[in-house]
Amino acid sequence: MSAPPADRTLDEILNLAASHFKVAREKLTPDGDFFKTLGIDSLQALDLLTRLEHHFRIELPDYELQGVSDFRTLANRIRARL
């Protein structure tokens, strides 16, 4: 089974992040820094990672996210595991 389109993965991430962290969806952009736009710290980033893993039913080792802070790159990392 092939991975869903890149835009759909990205959309699902943005929707989940906006909903969980109670940020207006339109404030989140694919290349935005999620630490800044969501106002989250490292522990909340782990929380987001866990929610994304549950949502996409994948396992995403956190070392793959070292240095990643924008939604687009995050979506690419997730798609590589779908």
């Binding site: 522990l43 782990l46 990672l49 893993e53 080792p61 956190d62 070392y63 240095g67």
Partner: protein, 267 residues
Amino acid sequence: MNDFKGQTLSWQIVNGTIELALHRDPCNEIGSLTLEELEKFATALPELVNESQALIVHSTLKAGFSAGADLRELFQRGQEMEKAAALRGVREFLERIHSVMNALDAAPLTTIAAVHGVTFGGGFELALVCDIIIADRMARFCFPELRLGLIPGFGGIPRLKRDLGNAVVRDLLLTGRSFNVMKAQQIGLVSQIAAEGEALRVARATASQVGKFDRRTAAAAKEFVKPIPYEELKREIDIFCDLYSRPAVEAGLRKFVESTDAQPYLP
């Protein structure tokens, strides 16, 4: 002492179950004060066991069960002392915490870790001494010690080896990656998953169930299926102390303590 309220933890007997609650901000880092209070608990345990059917260990803090050893204290002590004295202090700390962990591991009643959020390093090791781990859906586990140039020091490797296949242990240890409850259940580490915020309630229901059985039978079954790897535990202390003396550890601890990185918890 049937109940106790300390600075880092508290315990009480609730409906025949001992509930040991961790509550040291920010995420139950285990340093000398927590160790002192854990030792108080271990001393009180033989008496508590007579009046209870099970033990639940949990955290009252939102961030999680425990982020592990207090690395800031470890770094600070290393800076304040001459090297040989610092090493003696580390060995003494490890021997004391192993003594507590071994007492919990061998306790003649069913022990349950109800974990949520961050369950890392020494916190993970504390959960591993318990007979049953019940995890909140958002719990996350990790052994990040290798990034500091160390191995887990509170009994983690021998207890992981007791419970899991060696290939999985190598993956978790050598990558230092964190993993979620689905993975934890898949590899056989977590036996029950609770909805968000429900781990303690599920643990209480489980404690109530185990309390229906004959105490002596349950203790005999536990002793039979859960041997304590004393020799490997001693070896772990030796290896930890050998590694602690190396300059890479001071550099790793300094990097962690002084980090302003947005992802200091990510190995």
